[in-house]
């Protein structure tokens, strides 16, 4: 009977999801800003950041600007996207099982 029907979202549910997602987005955005702002701060305050050499010859600062930040953005993106989608999936819609609705015999259910 469940095939082809789905419940719509009530305003309260949408509002709840909206506010939870806003927390997720703002939280990740703050992390993003801190990481981006950390670079100029480090290059101003810490000589080690731009003048020492990692194995291979690059300074930590160059390594981060050349590779590290892109990896960081990608990881941040994957984490934020999967968390947001998981939140939406759990907070909206039904948790109904898609397939069989049969109850194993003898499991103690006595609904008509």
């Amino acid at each position: 009977m469940d095939d082809g029907v789905d419940t719509s979202d009530t305003p309260a549910e949408v509002d709840a999801t909206f506010r939870t997602l806003r927390r997720v987005a703002v939280g990740y955005f703050v992390v993003f800003l801190l990481a981006v702002a950390a670079f100029p701060v480090l290059s101003l305050t810490l000589d080690w950041w731009s003048s020492s050499r990692l194995v291979g010859g690059m300074s930590p600062g160059f390594l981060v600007a050349g590779f590290g930040l892109y990896v960081f953005f990608a990881v941040l993106g994957v984490a934020a996207a999967s968390l947001s989608s998981a939140v939406e999936h759990r907070m909206l819609g039904t948790s109904r099982e898609p397939v069989d609705d049969d109850v194993a015999p003898g499991s103690g259910e006595d609904l008509p």
Binding site: V24, W48, L83
Partner: protein
């Protein structure tokens, strides 16, 4: 370790190792010590605060494509009726007898304690047969065999420790038996003797009696705890069964009336309500574990509240405030919805202007607790009403209070059984100002 603490510790250790590697080993010149420690502290803070979202959040991320939606957790029952996720049973796993007097547990216990007792052979029996025998003589003192020795029967009958100094005293029918002396101590749960612990020696000097006595009383304590656990689980199961059968009939009548009255004016909405009602019942009758993911309990609560909103209209307002991290934590089943139902019934239903139900759920990553608050700004309750509610569902109360849904008493009893004293459950109510229920449970 509980609730992923081990994982967290591992991640922290790895973070420090990485900081050390990057700032000290792979780089020339190395970063000075103060800056390294600062970097490590920053990384650790980020890991601890971000742990619930980064490591917990996506862990159980459902597949959005392909149509395999996640289904309610359904775990197999333990044959002895002890279900998954019961923390009391999980504590003290190191002593095998903690799970009861079985052959397997007895064998592992005997192997464990033999070196401690200074005996050559150790046996554990129940009142009928030998459950485990470790050491010389195991060829004829067989597991599963009846109690051959007379002294065991003495120890069982009198409930006190017996020391045998001579080979004859053991009463073993096998003439080649190498065992010469024995100390036999009873194992008891309360006053009831349920078995014996036997320590044999192949020399003439018996094992120290005090040592065997102490060991036997320690094992007895574990057996007693195991028994208590089992009784608790049975009681908690019984309460959960009672809870499932306890969907308030008034609620059902009311919502069916609402649907019937809307079926002509707004067929689409009444269809939606029927769908939600079927979701509601399906969830209520299908829970067969003690724990569920918070998101599923939340689904149950919002299904319930959307039905009540159809009945109360604008008088019932709802506000959810939910941390993303809470969604994947595991909470006791059928606890939040009764709290919300109470708030609707005792807070909003009698308020002329209606009111707002507020459900707030948070995770505290440092204290590792989940806190859930259900509050309303309805009429509130006098202390007498609150007392009656707290006693609601208690066996032996007059019929009138039984139909008021699931009592808070039932909930707190179940929480007792599940968490012992590791939870808090506070109800505060002011007449005219509303009621607030605060629940804090360990994160898992």
């Amino acid at each position: 370790m509980r609730g992923g603490s081990g994982l967290l510790a591992g991640v922290l250790a790895a973070a420090w190792a990485l900081v050390f590697l990057v700032t000290q080993v792979l780089v020339d010149p190395a970063l000075d010590a103060a800056a390294t420690v600062l970097a490590g502290v920053v990384v650790s803070t980020v890991v601890v605060l971000g742990y619930p979202s980064a490591l917990r959040g996506p862990r159980a991320a459902p597949t959005t494509r392909g149509g395999t939606r996640w289904r309610p957790a359904r775990r197999p029952r333990d044959p002895r009726g002890v279900r998954d996720g019961l923390t009391i049973a999980a504590a003290g796993q190191s002593m095998p007898l903690r799970n009861g007097l079985t052959r397997d547990a007895a064998r592992r216990t005997a192997q464990l304690i033999k070196p401690l007792l200074g005996g050559d052979a150790v046996a554990i029996t129940d009142t009928e047969q030998v459950l485990a025998f470790v050491g010389p003589g195991a060829d004829h003192h067989r597991v599963g065999g009846g109690l051959q020795t007379r002294i065991a029967r003495v120890a069982l009958g009198k409930g006190r420790t017996v020391v045998v100094h001579a080979r004859d005293g053991i009463g073993c029918p096998e003439p080649d038996c190498p065992l010469r002396t024995a100390v036999v101590a009873p194992l008891a749960i309360g006053d009831r003797v349920v078995g014996t612990l036997k320590v044999y020696r192949t020399q003439d000097e018996p094992a120290p009696r005090v040592l065997v006595d102490d060991m036997a009383s320690m094992l007895s304590l574990h057996l007693e705890l195991a028994e208590m656990d089992r009784e608790r689980h049975l009681a908690a199961d019984a309460r959960l069964d009672a809870l499932r059968a306890q969907i308030n009939p008034h609620f059902l009548f009311n919502i069916l009336n609402t649907i019937a009255s809307k079926s002509r004016t707004d067929p689409e909405e009444s269809r939606q309500l029927l769908l939600r009602l079927s979701d509601f019942f399906r969830y209520a009758v299908r829970q067969d574990g003690h724990f569920a993911e918070f998101s599923q309990e939340y689904f149950f609560v919002r299904t319930y509240l959307s039905l009540e909103q159809a009945r109360f209209g604008d008088r019932l307002r709802v506000r959810y405030d939910i941390d993303p991290q809470v969604l994947t934590t595991r909470v006791p089943v059928l606890v939040i919805q009764p709290l919300v139902e109470n708030a609707v019934k005792h807070g909003i239903a009698d308020a002329v202007a209606g009111g707002t139900i507020h459900l707030r759920a948070r995770v505290d990553p440092l204290a590792r607790t989940t806190s859930i608050r259900v509050s309303d700004d309805g009429v509130g309750m006098t202390p007498e009403v609150l007392d009656r509610l707290l006693a609601g569902g208690r066996p032996g109360l007059p019929e009138s209070s039984k139909h008021s849904g699931v009592g808070l008493w039932n909930i707190s009893q179940r929480l007792d059984a599940l968490f012992g004293d590791r939870y808090t459950f506070d109800v505060a109510s002011t007449p005219g100002r509303g009621t607030t229920v605060d629940l804090r449970i360990p994160l898992r």
